[in-house]
């Protein structure tokens, strides 16, 4: 068993390169698409290497049961779910402790930017399915959900961009894959509003000194901005006249 924050025997950096041949500040191949689900108000598919997330936004729509309705503002509901075939061993379908927690943190990361007060008594439903998992699924889910919300025409203060960073062999790395996530020393997930640079999600596993933490946070913010640019490009391209 590997204890959190302790070095593992698995070699993750060989000759200065990571297992998949990337350098420390290199993202995996990123692919973003919007409008992938016709029946949803807005949808998006985001791929970071082998991690694929698809998000659909329904609404704003009438909220049932009625006792959940709030007369001052609407509510946001998020469901994060991993497909049974998304991982090596079959994942038993349905909600579990992990996905409930991740749904909650995604909701809080997105709630900040949406003008929910414009939709009293209504709900905005966001469904995120992880079709293939290879590390960094929650940040991929946030990126997909943010794109889907924007394509659904939901009023927002900003787009939310997220990325994962970590530490392996005393080296700061970005966009962790499955192995780096499992056997690395530290991993951190960060989501921030691309334009105004407010952090909306910060989670960390492992041990870091204060100096290392500051450094890693700066590194994560830098990479979130890269992803923000990619999101902007995807949305603008989709509505370009060609």
């Amino acid at each position: 068993m590997i204890e959190i924050g302790h070095k593992s025997d698995v070699k993750l950096v060989i000759d200065g390169k990571r297992l998949d041949g990337r350098s420390s500040n290199e993202l995996r191949e990123v692919d973003m698409k919007i409008g992938v689900i016709n029946r949803a108000t807005g949808s998006a598919l985001v791929r970071f290497g082998n991690t694929v997330a698809i998000a659909a936004v329904h609404g704003p729509r009438e909220l049932f049961p009625r006792f959940l309705q709030q007369s001052e503002a609407g509510i946001l509901r998020v469901r994060y779910n991993m497909a049974p075939f998304s991982v090596d061993d079959r994942k038993s379908p349905g909600p579990d402790r992990r996905s409930t927690e991740i749904s909650k943190v995604i909701r809080s990361a997105l709630e900040e930017v949406i003008f929910l007060e414009e939709f009293p008594k209504a709900t905005i439903d966001v469904f995120v399915e992880i079709l293939q998992a290879d590390g960094s699924t929650r940040v991929t889910a946030i990126n997909a959900a943010s794109l889907a919300l924007a394509s659904a025409g939901i009023p927002m203060r900003d787009l939310v961009s997220a990325c994962s960073v970590g530490k392996i062999d005393n080296q700061l790395i970005v966009d962790l894959n499955g192995k780096e996530d499992n056997f690395g020393e530290t991993d951190m997930a960060l989501a921030m509003q691309g334009g105004r640079k407010n952090v909306t999600l910060l989670q960390m596993d492992g041990v870091l000194t204060n100096v290392e933490f500051e450094k890693l946070l700066g590194f994560a913010k830098e990479n979130c901005l890269k992803i923000y640019e990619l999101q902007k490009k995807t949305l603008k391209e989709a509505y370009k006249r060609d």
Binding site: G59, R61, K121, A150, G153, D242
Partner: protein, 237 residues
Amino acid sequence: MEKEPSIEKETKEVLKEHPELQVQIVLPGEFLDEKKGRKVGRGAFFEGEKVYAKFLGVPRVNEYEVNVLPLSGIYLPNIGDKIVAFISSVEVSGWFVDINSPYSAYLPLAEAVDEFVDTQKTDISRFFDIDNIVFCTISKVTKNKTIQVSMRDYGCRKLLGGIVIKVTPQKIPRIIGKEGSMIKLIKQKTGCDIITGQNGVVWLRGENKTKAIEAILTIEKESHTLGLTEKIEKLLG
């Protein structure tokens, strides 16, 4: 035989010659302009003196207002909107109507029928029953989104027969066209009766309605391209 140039190709050529025709798109949170005492529309918000876009759309910045026109989204009612609605339930002295929005609206008896009706003795479903289609106006919207509709305006009536299709509400102005040019064209070529509701519901009646629907859905799909009127003309033959 020489192949006719496609509309798509023409659009590309036109854009090459006139890049200013490329529509500028703004994203949520993107800076639009300084406020400078102007009105900030529903599609924008301000912090201090700076105005930002609220959703994905086309910016409209002029000397009077700073706003963004949406490209997608659901219908939110505004007073004065003319809509096509469905009766969803019959009450003692009015009806609840589905207005293709997160909120349902109420149509009071007094706003729908001219004659005196004794509600103690009459079942008002004889005027409008469940699933009937009505063309009406939004007359009241409160802060908490309690909505009332009225049929007192010119042209408001029960729509008999025909079929209904739903399109993206933001595309309705494109379907109607400049001063109604596009909808007039479809009506002329197909001979259909068409009523477009600002809530994205379109009612059609007539023999050639399949052609009309095809045209409307094409406009919805390709609303951001150039030369759409010619394309629709060609489609309708």
